[in-house]
């Protein structure tokens, strides 16, 4: 029991929670934006992998870190364009297209990586983002090291959640996006072009996903390996439902999952030998599914999610 309290009261845990949550926040916000406009984007897992690879590769070849993030975002946007082409223009199955994008983007990342980076015993590394101390706040006892010594993308992710919440709920653009996700024909009848809205959301959302991936190679770690996204994309898809399609709840959901993950990791070291560590690895997923089951019952799914929009058809 004491060990658990020790873990909970260590600033290291809370710093780790924010770090673990960052890619999830980006990914969840991206998936959320796509779904608000009515497009499920299961390409997320592959887009995150590609973002991780291309961002790292850019920096490895001499670009600075923010350029790496930008290049990752652009690559995500391109995959988003591909997904939108299939699902919006051609009206194909969003599941199939999304999984296709994931499979393609994942393998393509590894292909490019292998093509351009020589095989080595230890993977090559870059100089990753360094934590920034928020002036004034980082010197606070406990809270300083826990919450205010993160790398810049983490702060960006948190700010972005609030910006996106504002856009979706407080601006005419957000209303147009929500209307498109609820009933694209109604949006069209009000003079909004649902096709443009969907393209925009899928491209921008996919760019966010790729930034989430790039965080892994440019901040959390400093090298790329092909399996590093490790299902984070799928977690994001579940977090969108958990969040009832609200960016602020997405932020909470990502933090909650990250907390479970950081907690179990530290629990492993304390309780090693007593319980096989694989049990701890399951904890975040089990708790997430439980939380999802509780939260999602009240969720209001965008009514036109996964429904292709064809002009003049009802």
């Amino acid at each position: 029991m004491n060990e658990i309290i020790d873990i909970l009261s260590s600033a290291g845990l809370w710093a780790a929670v924010l770090r673990i949550a960052t890619p999830l926040i980006f990914g969840t916000l991206g998936a959320l934006l796509c779904e608000r406009a009515g497009v499920l984007n299961l390409g997320i897992e592959g887009i995150m992998t590609f973002g991780a690879m291309i961002g790292w590769l850019a920096v490895f070849n001499g670009a600075d870190l923010w350029t790496g993030i930008l290049i990752a975002a652009i690559s995500g946007g391109v995959f988003g364009l591909l997904h939108a082409l299939f699902t919006v223009t051609l009206g194909l199955s969003q599941h199939v297209s999304g999984l296709g994008v994931t499979l393609f983007a994942s393998s393509f990342s590894y292909y490019i990586f292998r093509l351009l980076v020589p095989v080595a015993g230890t993977p090559p590394t870059i100089e990753a983002f360094q934590p920034i101390d928020v002036p004034g706040l980082s010197s606070l006892p406990f809270f300083g090291p826990a919450f205010f010594t993160q790398t810049p993308p983490t702060y960006l992710a948190i700010v972005l959640a609030f910006i996106l919440a504002y856009i979706i709920f407080k601006t005419p653009m957000g209303l147009a996006i929500r209307m498109t996700g609820e009933n694209p024909h109604a949006a069209e009848a009000q003079g909004i072009n649902p096709i443009v809205i969907r393209y925009g959301c899928v491209i921008f959302g996919s760019a966010l996903m790729a930034i989430g991936g790039a965080f892994l190679t440019l901040s959390a770690f400093n090298s790329f390996f092909p399996t590093m996204v490790q299902g984070r994309g799928w977690i994001c898809i579940a977090l969108v439902v958990f969040a009832s399609w609200r960016p602020s709840h997405a932020l909470l959901g990502a933090l909650l999952f990250a907390f479970f993950d950081g907690f179990q990791f530290r629990l492993q070291t304390v309780l090693s030998g007593v319980v096989p560590y694989q049990v701890f690895l399951m904890i975040p997923y089990i708790l997430s599914i439980t939380a999802l089951a509780v939260m999602a019952r009240r969720a209001r799914v965008p009514q036109a999610l996964m429904q292709p929009f064809r002009r003049g058809e009802r």
């Binding site: 407080k170 601006t171 005419p172 653009m173 957000g174 209303l175 147009a176 929500r178 209307m179 609820e182 009933n183 024909h185 109604a186 949006a187 069209e188 009848a189 009000q190 003079g191 909004i192 209001r300 965008p302 009514q303 002009r311 003049g312 009802r314």
Partner: protein, 507 residues
């Protein structure tokens, strides 16, 4: 006359082989209500979609207040002051009323939605036209009538001067429909111009100033409402004289269904209260009432999808327990469900599959579906019931409402059921199809089938039923013989005023 608010001249539109609009011209003056009358498929909706910029016409033009409207641009149509109220509402159930109304009305790049002034404007409009609705209610929580109000408000919010309503009463109850038409008349008095599309003669005669009749894509007649009558309009609309079938006298046989003191509780609410009713062979029992008064529950009870909490039911002389759907099929009870698209057919499946679905074991061989037999049965139904535009392998959603209903009737009646449960069988059908459906029901009666007809259409019940019971708040009135029933008496009964002593037919 001053300049017309709207002028459609020489509009044609072709879809493949189908000439949906053939050189149609139409005008609308300020403050006028024009009805566009026609059967399903006459081209009414196509014309309105052209007007609103959803379709680009092959030829012809649309002018508003004398200025020609650019084609195929809904945004321009809105700007010119045309507001469209769609038959299937263009609304988002998860958004609030206010959000539904103001979507797209403010610059998409503005940094904040101006909800304050939008709310003020919405409330003003809703007061001015008597369209009262809570701006902050979630749309999905509103009744269908209220949702339609929102749809109209949306058009008015965009400063519509010309309002186009596509079959506005298709989804409304009678009372809601009456309210809506009185609102529309008020609007016309305030200077709005209205076009409404309909195939219902009563509402057209009661509401419109001028009537355009469309048939087969052509404009066949234009009449002032004072210069015409229902039977002329019906003939113009269908292209031949339509006669609703007449009920012949008959001698009902034995009682086949007798329910006494039946109550049904659903979700903690008593939907059916101590209902007594019976049906004889060769007799039509009409259950009349405004929707939502328990008739859906009554239909579910007899279809085996709801269980009674009290009372007894005897079928064909024997007391029965709780019925399941297979029991109902087994017992030979035919059913025409109220919502044919959701409960009657599976749209994406073939007509032959829909025809045999509830009797699939009769159409099975060695555990496999006997497609040959199914297609043959479907062919029989199609021929015997004149289901137009149908082949057994076509998907059923491609049929019109009337033909779909004929197929549902056919799959039930071809097997000569002892009892037929018909819930709102003619709802949403056009004049020709209504006559066909009524004729089939009366034929079944002649062949000895007992029919329970659930309807909110007075004319329908008076035309078909031998005895009539009203349903109000889950309670059934005693039955009244059709020869003693008239519209006034029925109206009173539908509002819950009946004489407990009056019994038309003792068991």
């Amino acid at each position: 006359m001053t300049e017309n608010a709207l002028e459609i001249s020489g509009v044609s539109k072709r879809f493949g082989d189908n000439l949906a609009n053939d050189n149609i011209s139409l005008s609308l003056a300020k403050g006028e209500i024009v009805a566009l009358l026609g059967e399903n498929g006459a081209g009414k909706t196509t014309l309105m979609n052209i007007l609103f910029g959803h379709y680009v016409p092959d030829s012809g033009k649309v002018s508003v207040m004398g200025a020609e409207l650019p084609q195929g641009k809904p945004r321009e149509a809105i700007r010119a002051g045309i507001g469209m109220v769609h038959q299937h509402f263009s609304l988002a159930p998860n958004l609030t009323v206010l959000e539904n109304v103001i979507t797209g009305t403010q610059g998409i790049w503005s940094l904040a939605t101006d909800t304050k002034s939008a709310r003020k404007k919405l409330i003003e409009i809703s007061k001015r036209f008597g369209l009262i609705v809570d701006p902050d209610a979630r749309l999905g929580d509103l009744s269908v009538g209220e949702q339609q109000r929102v749809e109209i408000l949306k058009a008015l919010y965009n400063d519509a001067q010309i309002l186009v309503l596509d079959e506005p009463t298709a989804v409304l109850t009678n009372i809601e429909a009456e309210q809506m038409f009185s609102t529309l008349k008020d609007m016309a008095k305030q200077g709005l111009s209205l076009i409404f599309i309909s195939h219902k003669l009563d509402e057209v005669m009661a509401t419109a100033d001028r009537i355009f009749v469309l048939r087969g894509g052509k404009s066949v007649a234009e009449r002032l409402v004072g210069d015409t009558n229902k039977s002329e309009l019906a003939e113009l609309m269908v292209g031949r004289e339509v006669k609703r079938p007449v009920r012949e006298a008959s001698k009902p046989g034995n009682v086949i269904l007798n329910a006494s003191g039946v109550s049904v509780v659903k979700d903690g609410v008593e939907r059916l209260k101590q209902a007594d009713f019976h049906v004889r062979e060769g007799e039509v029992l009409g259950i009349i009432g405004v929707s939502g008064n328990g008739q859906a529950t009554l239909a579910q009870l007899l279809s085996g999808t709801a269980k009674r909490s009290k009372g007894s039911i005897a079928l064909f002389g024997d007391e029965v327990g709780d019925l399941s759907v297979p029991d109902v099929v087994e017992l030979g009870i035919g059913r025409i469900p109220e919502d044919r698209n959701h409960e009657g057919v599976i749209g994406e499946m073939a007509i032959w599959e829909n025809a045999i679905l509830e009797r699939i074991s009769e159409f099975s061989k060695n555990g496999l579906v006997d497609r040959t037999a199914g297609v043959k049965f479907a062919d029989e139904v199609i021929n015997a019931f004149d289901v137009r535009g149908a082949t057994p392998t076509k998907r059923i959603r491609l049929l019109s409402g009337g033909n779909m209903q004929k197929l549902i009737l056919g799959r039930n009646l071809l097997k000569q059921p002892k009892l037929l449960l018909a819930a709102q069988p003619a709802r949403g059908l056009d004049e020709g199809a209504v006559a066909a459906v009524h004729e089939r029901i009366l034929n079944a009666r002649k062949d000895g089938t007992g029919v329970i007809l659930i309807s909110e259409d007075l004319d329908e019940v008076l035309a078909l039923a031998d005895r009539i019971q009203a349903i109000v708040g889950g309670q059934l009135s005693p039955s009244v013989s059709a020869k003693d029933a008239d519209a006034r008496k029925m109206g009173l009964m539908m509002s819950g005023e009946w004489d407990d002593q009056e019994v038309g037919d003792e068991v």
